[in-house]
Amino acid sequence: MLKFFFTRLLQAIPVLLVVITVTFFLVRLAPGGPFDAEKAVPPEVLKALEANYRLDLPVWQQYTSYVGDLVTGDFGPSFRYPGRSVNELIMAGLPASAELGLYALLVALVIGTLAGIIASLRPNTAQDYIPMSTAMIGICMPSFLLGPLLVLVFGIWLDWLPISGWGDMPGDKILPSITMGAGYAAYIARLSRGGMLEVLSQDYIRTARAKGLPERVIIFKHALRGGLIPVIAFLGPAFAGLLSGSFVVETIFQIPGLGRFFVQAAFNRDYTMIMGTTVFFAFLIVLFNLLSDVIAVWINPRLRHQAQGGH
C-alpha cells in the first residue's frame, strides 16, 4: 500500500514539471511584453521594472529561478497588481473557492448517490427512469446555462434567493452550490446506479438475503461499499471539473474566488498570475487524482491485492 502510494507520488512529479515548463514557455511566447501600456514608460523605469521581475536575465535563467522559487512555494510577484504577490492573491481567492467546491461536492454526493441507489433498487421501472432521465438533463445542461436559469427563476421571478454574492446575505450560497453540483450529481447518480446494479446481482448479496437480513442492512452495509467504488474513482476527475466549473459559477454569481481571479488574469494578461494559478490548479488536480486513486485502492480489496503484489 505504501509502495503503491509512493510510486504514484513519484509519477506526479514529471506531470507537474511538464505543466510548469509548458506554462512558462507558452507565456514567454505571447506577443507583447507585460508592460506595454498606452503611455510609453521611460526607459530607466522599464529597466528597473524588468530587473524587478527578472526579465533582464536570459530565458533559461528566468526559468530555473522560477522553478527554484516554486519549489519553495513562491509564485512570484503579480504583474498587474504591483506590490502584491501571486501567493497573496491565491490565498485571497482560495477560501471562497474551496467552500464553494465543498458545498457543490456535498450537493453532488448526497443527491447523486441517493438518486442512484433509489434507481438501482427497482431497475427499469418508473423509480429508475424518472431519476435517470433527470440525471441526463443534468448532464446536458451546462452550468453556464443552469446558473442563469436558476437566477432567473428563483432570484428574479420568485424572488426567493439572492442572485449574487458570497456570504453577504443569508442564502446566497445556495444557488451557486446547486449550479456547480448539479452536473456532478447527475454523473454520480449514473455511476452509483451502475455500481449498485452490478453488486446487487452478486452471490454474497444473495447469501445475505438468504440469511434473512433486513433489506436496509443488505443495501447500506453490504452493497453500498462495493457499489460506490466507481463514484470514488470519479471524485478525482470531478475535482478537476469543479475547478473549471468555478470559472463560470464564480463569474456568474460574482464570487471572489480563484476561478474568477484566473479568468480576470487571463483578460488582463497578468502573466505571473496566470502562471501561478495554472501551476497551483495543476498541483491541486494532481494531488486529488492521487488521493482518489489511493482511496479507490484502499476501499477495493481486489485492487489492494494487485497493488501489493506489484501488479
Binding site: 511566447l29 505571447a30 451546462p142 453556464f144 446555462l145 446506479r193 451502475g194 463560470v248 488536480i285
Partner: protein
Amino acid sequence: MVAIITNTDEVLASAEQGTSLWSDAWVRLRRNHLALAGLGILIFLAIVSLLTPWIAPYGYEAQNLALGATPPSWQHWFGTDIFGRDLLTRVMYGGRMSLMVGFVATGVALVIGVLWGTVAGYAGGRVDAVMMRLVDILYALPFMIFIILLMVVFGRSILLLFLAIGAVEWLTMARIVRGQVQNLRRQEFIEAAYSLGLSRWRIVRKHLIPNTLGPVIVYTTLTIPSVMLLEAFLSFLGLGVQPPESSWGLLINNGVETMEEYPWLLIFPGLALSITLFSLNFLGDGLRDALDPRTSKD
C-alpha cells in the same frame, strides 16, 4: 449473438450478408427509441445548418434598431434582440458554428487518436511504453486551463480553437484504440495475414483499423457533445468564438446580460444547445449498447 429478427426484409438482408456487426448493431439501435429520436434531431439540425444561408428568415446582419427587443411573435418566432435582429436567424447561424466546431475538432481528435493508438498498440514494447506514458502525462494536465492560456496568449482565433480542443480530446481515443489493437494483434487472422506476406501498413489499414471502428464510433459520438460544451464554455467566458461570428455559447452569454428584461434571448439559445447535447448523448449511449454490448452503460 444473433439478434431476434422481426420482419422479412431483415431476414433477407441478413441471409445475404450474414449477420455482420453492422446489421446486428442497426437492428439493436432501431429498438432504442431515444437514440433514434436523437439521430433524427441531429439529422434535422445538420440539414438546417447546411441550408442556413438560404432558409434563414432574415439576413445575418439585418438590424432593425427602431424595433428593438421584442418577445416571440409570428414575424420573429424566437423574438428579437436589442438591435432588432431576428433571434431565430442568429440561433441558426450560431448553431452552424457550434456544430462545425463540434465536428471539426472531434475530427482532429479522431485522426490523431486513432493513428497514435494504432501505432502504439501495433508496435508494442518500448515504443508503446513511451507513447502511452506520454498520453498518461498529458492526461493529468489541467487542459481547460491550458486552452484558456492558449486563447489568451495567441489571440482568439477559430482555427486555434479547433486545434486546441482537438489536441485535448484525442487522448482517450488513443487509449481506446491502443487497447483494441493490442487485443486484435494476438488473434489468428492477423497472424494469417502476416504469414501471407502482407505489408505492415496494409495489415494496419485493412485489418486493424476497421476492427477498431465500433468503439471509435461510440466514443466519437460522445466526444462531439463534450467538444461543443467546451466551445460554448469558452465562448461564454468571452475566450472562444468572437463577434461578429456567433455561436450558441456566445448567444447564451449575451442572453445572460439582459435576461431580466428579455429572458427569451437566454432561453432559446439555451434550449438549442441543450437539445443538441441531449440528442448526441442519447445517440452515443444507444450506439454503445448496440455496437459494444460488453461495456455496460456506465
